[in-house]
């Protein structure tokens, strides 16, 4: 028998209270898993969206709040292409359209000769003129459309010329039309939302990650110096510093801190009640010679186990919630369900940490018990 046996015994003999505490911790941790998982998943989706196209840099209007409000002249395309560092520059116009109530679908306007089309596997053909669109496989499923059918966007009819598959879930859930078509639809003639830039990096597949990163950094500096009126970013920094994304991250962390405080209060309450209930038992342990350190160890061990159990329950519930959110009409097509080992490890570490923090006060209460009072008053 050791402290762990006694701890399990304590938890087991207060099943209902322990279970309720674990559930309380689990629900708070689940909220953390879901909101952090969703925001990280969204970030990963955006990064994969750019990477799947082979994009190295993104150019947007300077000082914009969100990418949808960015407007950059189409005339920059030739200026970028003239730079020796640039292999290809793809102008993209973006819009978000709600086909049904709260069922948002991303609209892309691409130039017909854009390098972006090379990465798509199209069944049917690419859109011709300004009356045709192609649908990502997920978008086709959500809109229930197949090749040859008509699609109404903002009151205009478009023929579905093909269905494509993309490595990026955002593209897979999107509608692509010619740049000109979307410019007309959005009333943004001569403007694009952003440029995707592919840099000239010779023998890219044989070059190390560090060397590619160095080339991208150099290209970023060159373009930023040549066009100080524009915002030039590499993918990672563009996504991380994107204002709405940044706000989402801060908001999710703020919510998580509230959830953690609830967890701490829950465990402190359970453990303090447990210590109070066991005043006699703890007093006797001190009387028979247990050291304060062992009493502290016993209480902390119990709160850590409650925290860990809550963490496991929270992971299960959190991923269940994430699955439900990802499949919801609001988020379908924006992100894929991922099980991030780093997030799982983070959650378990946080649960353990919360258990330790929550156990400190009850542990101090436990060692302040005077065996004499227990013997005198029972």
């Amino acid at each position: 028998m050791n402290i762990l046996t006694i701890t399990f015994n304590n938890i087991w003999n207060r099943k209902i209270r322990s279970l309720l505490t674990v559930l309380g911790v689990g629900i708070s941790i689940a909220a953390f898993v879901a909101i952090i998982g969703l925001s990280e998943g969204l970030k990963a989706s955006f990064i994969s969206n750019f990477r799947s196209r082979g994009t190295d840099l993104v150019v947007v209007e300077k000082g914009i709040l969100d990418i949808l409000s960015s407007k950059v002249d189409l005339s920059y395309k030739d200026k970028f292409k003239a730079m020796p560092e640039v292999e290809a520059a793809a102008p993209i116009l973006l819009d978000l359209y709600s086909f049904k109530f709260k069922q948002f679908i991303v609209l892309y306007g691409w130039e017909p000769d854009s390098y972006l089309f090379k990465e798509l596997k199209v069944q049917g053909r690419l859109p011709k003129g300004d009356q045709e669109v192609i649908l990502g496989a997920l978008a086709a499923k959500r809109l229930n459309k197949t090749t040859g059918e008509q699609l109404n966007i903002k009151g205009k009819q478009y023929r579905v010329a093909g269905i494509f598959q993309s490595k990026s879930i955002i593209e897979d859930g999107a509608v692509i039309m010619s740049l000109e078509s979307l410019q007309k639809l959005k009333d943004a003639q001569g403007k694009v939302s952003l440029y995707n830039i592919k840099l000239s990096i010779p023998s890219r597949s044989k070059t190390s990650y560090a060397q590619i990163s160095e080339s991208i950094e150099r290209g970023e500096d060159e373009i930023a110096r040549a066009f100080p009126e524009l915002e030039v970013k590499n993918i990672q920094s563009f996504i991380s510093n994107n204002t709405p994304m940044y706000m989402i991250f801060n908001f999710t962390w703020a919510l998580s801190i509230v959830a953690f405080i609830i967890v701490i209060l829950g465990i402190v309450n359970t453990m303090a009640a447990s210590v109070l209930e066991r005043t006699q038992e703890i007093g006797i342990l001190l009387a028979i010679g247990w050291r304060n350190l062992s009493i502290v160890g016993m209480v902390l061990c119990e709160s850590m186990l409650l925290g860990l159990a809550g963490g496991l329950v929270g992971l299960g519930l959190g991923y269940l919630m994430m699955n439900i959110f990802v499949l919801s009409p609001q988020l379908a097509g924006l992100m894929a369900m991922t099980y991030d080992p780093a997030l799982i490890a983070k959650v378990m570490m946080i649960s353990l940490g919360l258990g330790v923090v929550s156990g400190v006060y009850p542990a101090l209460k436990a060692i302040s018990i005077e065996p004499m009072k227990v013997l005198r008053y029972g």
């Binding site: 028998m1 006694i6 038992e281 009387a287 028979i288 010679g289 004499m372 227990v374 013997l375």
Partner: protein, 223 residues
Amino acid sequence: MDNNILIQTRELSKYYADGKVVALDKVSFSIKKGEFFAIKGPSGSGKSTLLHLIGGLDQPTSGEMYFEGKDLNSFLKQSGSRLKNIGFVFQVFYLWPTLNVLQNVLLPLVELRMSAKAKTQRAQELLSTVGLSHKRQSAISKLSVGERQRVAIARALVAQPKLVLADEPTGSLDSKNAENILQLFKKINRESGATIVIVTHERMLDSYFDRSITLFDGKIKSS
């Protein structure tokens, strides 16, 4: 100081309520190593207070206490010192109801660096000594009062302390069980050599002890 003395007190006093209640008044006595010793007296005479002071669970208002010639309180502050030197048997047993018999006896050993096998073996030997080896897996709630007291005795002895302090260990028992428990203490005292100090208010038990003191109103009336 005599090397044969385990516990010595000098003018030990304990007052409560700002000195209005005198629990012990300048009590001086000694207990030899290996003695089977009784502290007797009527209820409220200060017996339990004296036992708690000797066990380091309470502090005296004035006076001195020595354990093998060392200041008792300083000695017990050393890590693990209480566990290795003093075992307690309480009147109402104070067993853990959620642990079984063997686990209750093992409780003090959690603190000691021994293999799990050695700990279990020692606990089982003691359960055998107190006649409860067949009930080692039993729940405490399934035991009779006398059996519970035997578990408490085994728990007090398991860390092999030099001194065992028992506060009215027969107080909750009928006369037959009380006699059995005293015989058990006597046997343990003889076989293990541990010094055993028992607090009792029962006069008829004199014959069991090597020596005793009788307290009355906090003072030693006879020794």
